[in-house]
Symmetry: C2
Subunit: 333 residues, 2 copies
């Protein structure tokens, strides 16, 4: 079974951890079934493969370092190196370099650049400077973290989410981290989207998938940028795979982050129904074949879309794997 | 009075600290004399200006960062941020990023890249990437450290000391730090020396100087590379300034570092006489008008060169300032 997951940062990383747990269980079950048949058949056991297509719109250059917050959050989380309480960055982090940069009068002291994290950016920046791609740098970093899934950046090209406010345009990180998402949003812009192409393997993974999961990440600034990479949305709508979305909104509030502010900016209600409608049913030109909402949102309807309600709090891998199992069931209908 | 000092790293930095102390005392004395004349004369008090021309041959790119060990050692030392026991790097240093880079399988884990120090390299590397010169980056970094003297890199151009060994050529840092100066030296090469030019202000400072001091730094790999920048040696030999050298060898051993290994490689005796002879008397095509040696080396003679013996251990600024005072006296003969 081949599963593709569209993922942003913290929520996407937790979801992927559950997908990996589900895939491991599924693989073991498949293996066992294959072993029982092995006496008579020699066919290889089909593998359960998970490919994450990760948002690159948050990527930013600071202090000359190329920083990819969502890729790193997914990598650290799946590699067991993330700070669980803070959600982002490395466990046991220190902030010596950040303080020193501030002492030099650095202009980005609002950005949480940890010492451990910084080594990741150094390795990546050096590789990019040497002419390697973001995909190659990501693969190199993953040699250490062994996330247990395939991690692909949505695009290797320049692609950044910018926020147009009444006072001017700023990088998404500046709006989100520096200004805490407070400045009014006129619109989000994906800088580079006109010319960017999907990273190697992205479109093929979608085309070959049995199931595409749209993770419970921010629909506007995490999933939105992935779908804005030319070819990605098209590949999903044309894929033979079933496409199931998981709501990141539970009872009118985002599980994590500031999806409410982002949804308001694009005129969409902050609810499971609102986001389900934003994605839309594939049968009527949208993205999804099924929509998972939390039990508190049971009764949610989205035109043309089967909706299933179940607990969507990703407390641990077990709870999240149950969400994935439900999505698989919904896809099989 | 205008003093130019040729300086390398740790020894050069300590010497400069003493030069600064001497200059401060000299400036105060000059000021007092001027004040006594002020009732009748309105001439401005002449300032005592110290310009350090710092070796760039140790500069190296690691992890994509441009690292300038001698410039930083001088800057940290004069700015009060250096580690006094270790000699190089920052006081209160930590090594988180270095350990993380090693965890990524980095190839330069032998290099002491501290977290605090790293911020300096980040600021410099970003500025260079933006098209600024090493001189401009140095001036920017000095806005924080306020070394109290003018610090000029010998050159803004590519210029690196390489070591040719029987097994191949390596960067000076690799020979010195990684291999502890053990590999046999066939010769030292100054990569880029053919096309490099002196950094802005270097030749003018020499031309305008009243006194040029050749610091007690390694004559082969600290002073040598400065003199190898096209135009520098010529500017010194043609300068109206007196040129006095200070021996970094006391009683057949270098005060700091591995000058003995370097001198052997160029066939020069590791002694005050040997190094004095290497620099040579300006009167016979060499560099110096005077040579300061330690009291244990009293009796040292160098053809054509006045030699003065005095204690050359730079225990503190007072001891070092006394060396400078002796050099000034020697220059005035």
């Amino acid at each position: 079974m081949r599963i593709v997951v569209l993922a942003g940062g913290v929520g996407g990383a937790r979801f992927l951890s559950g997908v990996r747990a589900w895939a491991s269980t599924h693989q073991a079950a498949t293996q066992q079934a294959a072993t029982q048949q092995a006496a008579t058949q020699q066919a290889p056991t089909p593998r359960t493969v998970v490919t994450a297509i990760v948002n690159v719109g948050d990527n930013v250059t600071m202090h000359g370092l190329r920083i990819c917050p969502d890729l790193d959050t997914v990598m650290y989380t799946l590699g067991g190196g993330n700070d669980r309480e803070r959600g982002w960055g490395r466990a046991g982090e220190s902030w010596v370099v950040k303080d020193e940069l501030a002492a030099y009068g650095g202009t980005h002291s609002w950005f949480g650049l940890g010492d451990r994290d910084l080594a990741t950016h150094l390795v990546r920046t050096r590789m990019l400077a040497e002419g390697r791609t973001l995909s190659e740098a990501t693969a190199e970093l993953c040699r250490r973290w062994r996330p247990g899934i395939e991690m692909l950046p949505a695009s290797d090209d320049h692609f950044e989410t910018h926020v147009v406010t009444p006072e001017g345009t700023m990088h998404f990180q500046e709006w989100w981290v520096r200004h805490r998402g407070v400045p009014e949003v006129v619109r989000f812009e994906f800088d580079g989207a006109a010319t960017a192409t999907a990273a190697p393997g992205v479109l093929a993974a979608i085309a070959d998938a049995d199931l595409v999961l749209v993770g419970p990440s921010n629909p506007v600034v995490s999933i939105g940028p992935i779908l804005a990479v030319p070819g990605v949305r098209d590949a999903i709508t044309k894929s033979p795979a079933r496409v199931v979305g998981v709501s990141g909104i539970i009872g009118d509030a985002p599980v994590l982050g500031m999806a409410d502010r982002c949804l308001r900016a694009v005129g969409v209600a902050c609810s499971a129904a609102g986001v389900g409608g934003l994605y839309g049913a594939r049968s009527s030109g949208g993205l999804l074949d099924g929509w998972l909402v939390d039990t508190v949102d049971a009764g949610t309807t989205v035109e043309g879309l089967p909706v299933r309600a179940m607990p969507l709090w990703m407390r641990d891998d077990e709870a999240t794997a149950a969400m994935v199992a439900a999505a698989v069931e919904l896809a099989a209908r």
